[in-house]
Amino acid sequence: MAVGNKTVHATEHLHSKAYSRPSWLRTLLLGNRFPTGLLRLIIIYTLLVFSAFLFLLPFYWMVNTALKPPNQVFTLPPTWIPKPVMWSNFLTAFTVQYETDPPVYNYALNTAIVTVNGVVSTIFSSALVAYAFARLEFPGKNVIFLGILSTLMIPFAVVMVPQFIIWRYMNWLDTLWPLMIPHWFGSAWNIFLLRQFFMTIPREYDEAAYLDGASRWHIFIRIILPLSKPALAAVAVFAFVFFWNDFLGPLIILSTPENFTLTLFLANFNVAYRGTPWHLYMAAALIIILPCLILFFFSQNAFLKGITVSDLKG
């Protein structure tokens, strides 16, 4: 559905069936009038503050606990502000080591490897495939594209067992390879997203280069990719969050603590420490989510773009 058609249908729509539909609901609610002026502002900001409070509450509870001295964690009623603030909890959570388990930075390193590989591979392979669908003509194009989109409905559980068997056969279980290799072949959602974006780049750019004798590969690398930085950034931030937080993949592949990623470490924290030092637990959780939070604060636009670039209507 073309966005540009909106104005044409604007007035027509007003007289459609939808316009007169919910009179009973209208009278039920406020007799059709939403308050105006000051009252309206008060209602809006009250709702905003209240919802933001609820949404941020878990973060407060995590930070509050992460900064408590151990003896305050189990006091009743709980202290609402840690006193004194124990910044050293982060250091403890990051360096503490249970028996023969590797130190936490080892898990962080594994997660970093998987994440960097995931971001690079997803961007590159998805862009490559998306370019073909946005710019080139070939038999079977539409069928293949539909095929790519329909894989979105396949739950991971369906391919999980055969993939596990493949890795077992390759003798790659309990290594990071199974978490890295499959992502070099394009991911359906990102192919779709990048294709939508590439189609908005004026064709004149690449046709001109083509007439000058540039190859498709050259056009892709030198023209399309540099013009697509916002979309690539969007794919990158979502890929980062996905790979950094992935759990089920590492869970079925990795079995020895040396190879664990941060999410596996966190999920096994209770077991490893026999009991729950909640202040360290929350400190570890905070350390693990911090990179994603920082990424979000510095690249909000990329996140928003990633969600809205496909425009849903295409």
Binding site: A18, L48, L57, W61, S125, V158, G186, F220, L266, I307
Partner: protein
């Protein structure tokens, strides 16, 4: 989508069309290889495997429909897991949409500090399933959690949110409502892209805000609602990390999600064939609910320009 044919092909093999197609296939080759190895191949393998009994030691043994039959006849846990998953999806998905839309409407009210409020609501979406689950376990802690202590401040009695079989699924649903950042941003973008002429015309007609919402906003948003519901179904049928970390499926199997039951069968009991059969039921659940949505879509999803 017109490509001008510049060359005059002497024969097919040298034609631009042919060479272009070859170049295009080279570009999509990664996906084709990946599809065969990691998606298409495994789909076929999983389907075949679901008719075999295979515990990874002895060679697979043909089992016919036995797995599918035993799901309904002997595996009590399977029935429970389907019911748990179904209840979760049926409640979590619609409530998430109402909440996400409500927040998006609030954010669309020409408020001050939009960036701050939007971040506050979006933030949980970048928190991992495992870390988020652990935070909520701590929130729900019977004695030390903020939920019960907050209730105590208001003079209300706390509950054992994660160990009461009547409450636990509800507790997980509440946790899932914390994660509505993505649908919220989609609604917000749709609201901001709304053509203002519609509202101006309605103002001339003297329509109130509430009727404007139901007559203009909601129909114009319906494609976004539809999209979010379908994506929500696909994701929530596969719920795994939350029950795995927060409850382990308990108490008394009250949060034994399909994904968890499947995982346990595959990787604890090594029942690869049975797990594959369950994976196909999971696919059917997603497929069925999605097709059902597409069936309903004609009645309530309004596409501008009237297509579909």
């Amino acid at each position: 989508m017109t490509t001008v044919d510049f060359s005059r092909p002497d024969n097919f093999w040298q034609s631009r069309r042919f060479r272009d197609a070859m170049v295009a296939y080279a570009f999509i080759l990664p996906w084709v290889i990946g599809f065969i190895l990691f998606v298409g191949g495994p789909i076929v393998a999983s389907f075949v495997l679901s008719f075999f009994r295979w515990k990874m030691i002895a060679p697979p043994k043909f089992y016919g429909l036995t797995h599918y039959i035993s799901m309904v006849t002997t595996d009590e846990l399977f029935r429970i897991s389907i019911w748990v998953t179904f209840k979760f999806v049926i409640i979590s998905v619609p409530v998430s949409q109402v909440l996400a839309l409500g927040l998006a409407l609030l954010l669309n009210q020409r408020i001050k500090g939009l960036g701050f409020w939007r971040s506050a609501f979006y933030l949980p979406a970048v928190v991992s399933g495992v870390a988020g689950s652990i935070i909520w376990v701590w929130m729900y802690h019977v004695e030390l959690g903020i939920v019960n202590n907050g209730l105590a401040l208001m003079g209300l009695e706390g509950r054992n949110w994660l160990y009461d079989r009547e409450l636990v699924l509800g507790s997980l649903i509440v946790k899932s409502l914390w994660n509505i950042g993505i649908p919220m941003v989609i609604y917000l973008a749709a609201l901001q892209g709304m053509p203002q002429q519609l509202y101006e015309a309605a103002d001339i007609d003297g329509s109130g805000e509430v009727s404007k919402f139901f007559a203009i906003t909601l129909p114009m948003l319906s494609p976004a609602v539809f999209f979010n519901i379908v994506m929500g179904i696909i994701a929530s049928v596969q719920t795994f990390a939350e029950p795995y970390v927060m409850t382990g499926g308990g108490p008394d199997n009250a949060t034994l999600f399909l994904g968890l039951h499947l995982y346990q069968n595959a990787f604890h009991y090594l029942k690869m064939g049975y797990a594959s059969a369950m994976a196909w039921i999971m696919f059917l659940l997603i497929f069925g609910l999605t097709v059902f949505q597409f069936g309903l879509a004609g009645r309530w999803v309004y596409y501008e320009g009237g297509a579909r």
